[in-house]
């Protein structure tokens, strides 16, 4: 198996863009990544596109060749990957697999979602398709409701508090306020977060990530060829994608994201590191409770201690292990199909030392964790400076 490096990254701003369509966003991100890697569209050997629900949000199927043509990519495999909110994490994992296996040398991986053209109840219904439509969703659950039920159980079992959930939101907004590409660039206080409008108790609007438009793209190549493309290659040290049951009511213990745990274990093993070696991370904070669970299941702290960890300051930008220095899904925004690749961009930019006001102090080894549904897909990617 060959080692793989990311040699190009590109992101659009995340936000609500009524004058931008899905293809223009995906093309913008793809062009930025190709330019960053000094690759012309004709040099792309395969195009992997992560997208969760383009057919429902905008009525367009067959998205990978549709976007690919806009980029000038044709005559090569162009395929859309769908794994709920882990769609582009999954696209990246499969692109990595093909490059590592020696099938392709230069591939483009994109992720895109155009969500804001639909009213909130319709968005909730489309997103619900990432859950079990025959059971939990028919009963009236939504994604906020599923994570609210996880939060309630975590509070019951481990004493996690509303203030600890709010600490995640306050931190991520503080970071996102400094991110020029973030959807919601404003700081909030714990008091504001606690007084937010209820979405699904105990979660308020301040516990929920944003409904956003946006796209991201990266160019992976074999590490041995990376110097042909960039002076700052970022190595994929470890990566894994794993699955679990879709329905929350079929999971034995809903306070553990089993797929996060298994994908992290495999990625750590491949990278020959432990959780203690991870200096910073972008984790999937679709809801504040999800960041708490992820920090536990990635092994940063013991099960049940994620709330205290969030409150301790350890995960702040200047803390011992910054988590979501980008602002996370909470503040940066969550165009669901773009999120996995956007996290990889954010970690790679940190390793390149190009994160500006959001630069973390220790940036040799970082982790991106992308979650689908209430935990049925997890992709964990460990990146480091290529030596």
């Amino acid at each position: 198996m060959r080692r793989v490096a990311v040699v190009g990254v590109g992101k659009t701003a995340f936000g609500a863009f009524p004058d931008r369509d899905l293809r223009s966003l995906a093309v913008e991100a793809g062009e930025k990544a190709l330019r960053d890697a000094n690759v012309k569209p004709g040099g792309v050997e395969a195009f992997y596109l992560g997208n969760f629900a383009g057919p429902s949000f905008i009525g367009q199927n067959h998205l990978a060749p549709y976007v690919g043509a806009g980029l000038g990519i044709s005559g090569v495999p162009a395929t859309r990957f769908e794994a709920a909110c882990a769609s582009s994490g999954a696209a990246f994992f499969h692109a990595w697999s093909a490059v590592a296996a020696g099938i392709y040398d230069v591939v483009l991986v994109g992720g895109v979602e155009k969500m804001t053209s639909q009213p909130t109840p319709r968005v909730a219904e489309i997103l619900a398709g990432a859950g079990d439509m025959s059971g939990e969703m028919r009963a009236g659950a939504t994604f906020p409701a599923l994570f609210a039920m996880i939060a309630r159980r975590h509070m019951y079992q481990y004493g996690t508090t509303r203030e600890q959930l709010a600490a995640v939101a306050v931190k991520n907004h503080a970071n996102g306020a400094k991110n020029p590409l973030a959807h919601m660039r404003k700081t909030i206080t714990v008091e504001q977060a606690l007084a937010g409008k209820p979405v699904a108790e105990p979660l308020t609007v301040y516990d929920c990530s944003l409904v956003s438009d946006g796209a991201a793209a990266v160019v992976p190549v074999p590490l041995e060829r990376a110097a042909e493309f960039t002076g700052k290659p970022v190595a994929v040290l470890g990566i894994s994608q794993t699955s679990d049951r879709v329905a929350l009511d079929e999971k034995e213990d809903i306070t553990t994201l089993r797929a996060v745990r298994s994908s992290a274990e495999k990625a750590y093993k491949m990278a020959e590191v432990t959780a203690a070696d991870i200096q910073f991370a972008e984790v999937h904070d679709c809801f504040t409770i999800a960041e708490i669970l992820s920090c536990e299941d990635l092994g940063f702290v013991k099960k049940g201690e994620g709330g205290l960890y969030a409150q301790s300051g350890a995960t702040c930008l200047r803390g011992e292990r910054p988590v979501n220095a980008s602002g996370g899904l909470k503040s940066k925004g969550h165009p669901v199909g773009a999120t996995g690749v956007a996290q990889i961009c954010d970690v790679a930019v940190q390793i390149r030392g190009e994160a500006g006001d959001l630069q973390v102090a220790r940036n040799e080894i970082g982790l991106a964790q992308n979650l689908g549904g209430s935990g049925a897909t997890s992709v964990v990617t460990i990146l480091g400076a290529a030596r």
Binding site: P121, A124, G140, A141, T142, A200, E201
Partner: protein, 68 residues
């Protein structure tokens, strides 16, 4: 369906399109011993650990209420 215990619950304030007229409503994962189901709660609000009884199935959705 039989009686069970509330494993976890939430009150939904921001509903999906098909239930916009129902909100706010409570849903719960009810532990039936050999399995769990996601159900609607009728009447009084319930909390984790509360005993609930099966009332009826509407549109294939089980409805439970607190055992008084």
């Amino acid at each position: 369906m039989t009686n069970g215990t509330v494993y976890t619950e939430t009150v939904v304030w921001s509903p999906p399109e098909m239930y916009v007229n129902d909100a706010p409503y409570q849903i719960a994962i009810v532990d039936l011993g050999d399995r769990r189901v996601t159900a609607r709660i009728l009447g009084e609000r319930v909390a984790i650990g509360d005993a609930v009884e099966f009332v009826e199935s509407r549109n294939e959705v089980p409805h439970f209420r607190k055992v008084s």
